[in-house]
Symmetry: C2
Subunit: 296 residues, 2 copies
């Protein structure tokens, strides 16, 4: 079983504090800290860890212990919106684990955080049963400064914990979601209007694919434009379908696809699905991938 977890913490300016959090995670057996980075202007750090359910649970609780002791939202400033010391904690199913199991884990961790640290916890994304409280942006709107007032209004009782913010640590948003794929397609043109029109055609918010967020941007140094995307569920909206649609829409303007790029990590299954599609492979099973077989 392999679960990824990407906690975001509201501290990105004091390296000694962030390093202490990293050490606390590394000390937990059954989990690996794959990466962590801080953004001083956001005053925020992102940790990427992976392991089994017990390992990631214990690592997240260790992180809450540190962050609750070290971060005070009453004096915290930064460009990035935030609600809590440990702001958001997504659990992501990678291998040998279902979304349902990640949802159960998010609820277990949420209950434990609430009872151990007296921090209110909101469930989000797949862990939330409430449509008004699925999107992180909706839950976080108003930020820490508006949290006490928001929690007093109807519909904002937290899923776990006290009905008022923790004085210094605010509230936390914990949930489960699919892996994100940051995917860009570069077009052989400098026409920003074409990139923007294509982005509008494919993104969910303006009528496109359900699990695509997209915008058109200019790559000034290269004199070309890019459709910059987040694919939020590669099983239901696969990479190849998005690529083929962008290519077809670009043709409409006489524009060719120059190249695409994957930024950061991509699950093996997302690439395999593209190979299956283009090679028209029938009856393929994940355990035919040699590496999967070797590690099963």
């Amino acid at each position: 079983m392999l679960i990824e977890c990407v906690p975001n913490v509201s501290e990105g300016r004091r390296p000694e504090i962030v390093n202490g959090m990293a050490s606390a995670i590394r000390a937990i057996p059954g989990v690996r800290l794959l990466d962590f980075s801080s953004d001083p202007s956001h005053n925020r750090s992102v940790f990427t860890l992976a392991g089994d359910a017990d390992g990631v649970e214990r690592a997240v609780l260790a992180l809450f212990e540190r962050a609750t002791a070290e971060v005070d939202l009453r004096t915290h400033k930064g460009e990035h919106p935030r609600l809590g010391a440990v702001d958001v904690v997504p659990f992501v199913p990678i291998e040998g684990v279902t979304m349902a199991e990640c949802v159960a884990l998010a609820k277990r961790v949420g209950a434990e955080v609430a009872s151990r640290f007296q921090i209110p916890v909101y469930l989000y994304e797949d862990a939330s049963a409430n449509p008004a409280r699925k999107n992180l942006e909706d839950i976080r709107r108003g930020e820490f400064e508006g949290l006490a007032a928001k929690m007093a209004t109807a519909g904002w009782t937290p899923d776990f914990g006290p009905s008022a913010p923790h004085p210094s640590a605010g509230a936390s948003v914990i949930g489960a979601r699919m892996p994100l794929i940051a995917y860009n397609i570069n077009l052989a043109t400098d026409r920003l209007d074409v990139a923007k029109k294509i982005a509008a055609a494919i993104r969910h918010s303006t009528g496109g694919y359900r699990f695509v967020k997209a915008m058109g941007i200019k790559l000034e140094d290269r004199g070309i434009v890019q459709v910059s995307m987040n694919l939020t569920n590669f099983e239901k909206t696969p990479i190849f379908r998005v690529f083929e649609t962008v290519k077809r829409e670009a043709e409409r303007y006489g524009v060719a696809v120059l190249e695409s790029e994957i930024v950061g990590l991509v699950p093996s299954a997302a690439l395999n699905a593209a190979a299956e599609f283009y090679l028209q492979i029938e009856g393929f099973k994940a355990d035919q991938v040699l590496e999967n077989k070797l590690r099963s």
Copy 2:
């Protein structure tokens, strides 16, 4: 480091002997027995194991010990050509290991087999520096029954060990090769001549791609034909190039590709290369695959 090893043993009719060989492999630390199967008409068994260099070396030596004690080629009958009790031993680089390291391992194991069991050893494929002794078929021609005479002729001194066959265990062929991919493309036609012409166009032996073996066959029950292939080096002759060529050649006869299929295991890198090609992904690195990163 992950090396696959697929020893073929000349015993496929006595399950208790084959199971004893499997147990001997399983008892070795640092190696896993992924699969083994016996073919009684071939009177031959194939073991698939994987591990680090030390693990696979020790497992292969344990297998030689069993096979040399239990198999006597003087009384062995079967449909499959064979030269020795342990007939052929390929080492296959999978991850974090080079072909050169697998060649070095094949030579080390070959020398050890020769000195410990007095069995002559021929190196093959990437481990052989002699063009006349690269192909398994060339080395094995004449089989056990013709081996003593063959070894007495010029050019057939073994790479390691005595210059005459082991009385009961014959000789062994040990080497290193890339993973094989068994890949078939089904055509939406019942015209066997089309499948045969396309097979001839793409296979190495008749002028096609260097690392393709291919034949055209009829799938009687489905009323269609198939180009049935072995891809012997997916890095140098990638799946997508073969697929696109077959598709283009089929168009020439007004025939469409119905589907393709991968039989058995395929390295993750072979599928990723297809995704990169069709999605035009630039600058992709293997450690962007989440699973690779998690396990590095």
